[in-house]
Symmetry: C2
Subunit: 348 residues, 2 copies
DNA sequence: CTGTTAGCGCATTCAT
DNA sequence: ATGAATGCGCTAACAG
């Protein structure tokens, strides 16, 4: 086997010559132009086949001034929910002519870098930003660079977006607990200021507090615990909660990941779920069903799916309106929630 | 705010004219060529800055005949382990000048498509294939197209690869169980023929059988259950196993995902883990530690990390050797395994 | 050191 | 309907 026998790259000129036509004609059959007779088309097609010619994506891109690829920016890997959204993205990209370029963000600095880089030169034809909030300056850069952007799970008034109502979701979660008869309900979530300014945790808390208020239940600051968005932090916070003189009978975690930490803490202390403690999460990631975690389901896959479709669409049409789709949230009752042990149920 | 004010794309010619130099000089400063005087370099740099010029990736790619992007082909999403490998890939790509293009495979047909497409025209400068086995024809196509390919978690004699010894891993798992005193050990894994011809499950089984043989334990066919690589299938298979007249005291699952199904089945039946049943998995994905699952740890992140490094390296150097790196496996003992209930422990 | 020129491979007018 | 010419924006080889 000989090395380095670099294949003679067969170009559109080779095809043209071999078929006794001009390169223009070859280009036309390549792009299904109707402006070519059936006979010559077939002939060119045959030559293309025998020569095993494939147009160079590089040349096509330069000539058409399109990268034929779309970028997705997100904090992947740290949050299982984002990977699920990516699945939805991939599903529609795979069926298109576009390549999928993923930009993983790990730090705010990296985020700003990528935000700038994607606006600077036409690196991508369109951009999907997941759960990351761009500044006005970023948005302006993209706009003046002519790069279409769609947001998923985050907001900016000037950008099309796919979102859910986190406040409502928090309300639903609390409502479920209240209906079960719980009155001592705690919250485990993210801190107010996170590196990426995620707001979903706060919004969900707001919804919960609203529900409590409507039921005439005063807010107890000691029932409000925040920390890093991971299992171990949530576990530690829950230990504090359960060590209280008057511990909660139910805990609403701002995410399933954190709910896992809550359940782990309960297990540490020999506290049964749901008999002694009810736990409800948010997101409905895959493990949630395995662990029978009651949670608020949000359409993760669909958010990516619809987001990319919106992007593709806004790349064709020059729509001046900025669409905003809101996806529905659903309570999924499993076996991590139940009426409190020492309370008359259904006092609602 | 006016729409459509498409930014005048400032090119290398604009810079050249403005700086009173030739485009060649501009190109040289762009590519840090030493063949340019410090003064002119600085001058050009200034002009570039004031004009806010950024070279077009598209034009660079066509001219240099490099896509500046590398592709990763894998069955993402269905197996958590693959996502973890992707993390390692992303970590090194992010630090390079390359873009990361993700090709998700869902069916064998899709796999063959992508294998061909990546060989046809220079779509990517290099390819990382995870857990998918290319045919000789695929390998030949890539070779003659001059596309460097590195394999992760799969084999082909002509391709560099990053692997683990699954047979040894299976052996280690069984050995752990045997040392705990188990003699009735069952296996839950993938079928012999899977859509993608995954072989890790079979290899791990082979290792297990070898360990059993060395301990003089006869193989019991009824202890060998195979089915789809997911939690629910494993759960169903385990129900069959535990309904046997002489049920196993320990189960080795070919993956953590399947081990979850095994544990779920045990929970269904009120069978305690590890008191009544020991369970050991493979991979050490994130949930494994949460569920205290004893498992065989394999360096997933590192496999992607080293794989890409190997690829990047083989894209520079024209090495005729085909490297094969083997990563170490480690038993991680957690609390899903224990000596069998009715057996004298440590009979080894 | 630096300017000029010729590609890279295809899309797209513009004539015919 | 089709061929020839021009351009996309940059790199690289070649003079000077």
């Amino acid at each position: 086997m000989f090395n380095g026998e670099h294949p003679v790259p067969v170009t559109i000129y080779d095809v043209a010559k071999q078929a006794n036509v001009g390169v223009g004609t070859v280009s036309r059959v390549l792009n299904n132009s109707p402006r070519v007779s059936p006979e010559t088309r077939q002939h060119v097609l045959d030559v293309i086949d025998t020569l095993n010619f494939r147009p160079s994506p590089l040349a096509q891109r330069l000539s058409r001034r399109k990268t034929l690829s779309i970028g997705v920016i997100a904090v992947f890997f740290t949050r299982p929910s984002v990977v699920e959204r990516l699945r939805g993205v991939e599903a529609v990209i795979a069926a298109s002519e576009y390549d999928l370029i993923v930009y993983n963000i790990e730090t705010p600095a990296k985020r700003d870098d990528i935000f700038c880089a994607t606006a600077a030169n036409r690196r991508v034809d369109g951009l999907l930003v997941i759960s990351l909030t761009p500044a006005d300056a970023d948005v302006e850069r993209w706009r003046s660079a002519g790069v279409p952007v769609v947001l998923v799970d985050t907001h900016h008034p000037a950008l099309p977006r796919i979102v859910v109502n986190d406040v409502l979701g928090g309300y639903q979660a609390a409502q479920h607990l209240l209906e079960l008869g719980h009155r001592q309900i705690a919250f485990v979530g993210d801190p107010i200021h996170t590196a990426f300014n995620f707001t979903s945790s706060q919004d969900r808390l707001a919804g919960m507090r609203q529900a409590l208020t409507e039921h005439g239940i005063a807010w107890r600051p000691e029932y409000h615990q925040t920390g890093e968005h991971d299992q171990q932090a949530a576990r530690a916070l829950t230990h504090q909660l359960l060590a209280l003189d008057d511990p909660p009978t139910a805990i609403f975690a701002a995410s399933d990941t954190q709910a896992l930490g809550v359940m782990e803490a309960a297990r540490d202390l020999g506290i049964r779920v749901p008999e002694d403690l009810s736990v409800i999460g948010f997101d409905d990631i895959e493990i949630a069903s395995y662990l029978n975690l009651t949670t608020i389901h949000q359409p993760l896959f669909e958010s990516g799916y619809r987001g990319i479709n919106l992007l593709l669409q806004s790349m064709d049409v020059i729509d001046s309106e900025t669409p905003r789709e809101e996806l529905a949230l659903d309570l999924v009752v499993r076996s991590s929630t139940a009426p409190p042990a020492h309370a008359s149920p259904a006092l609602v």
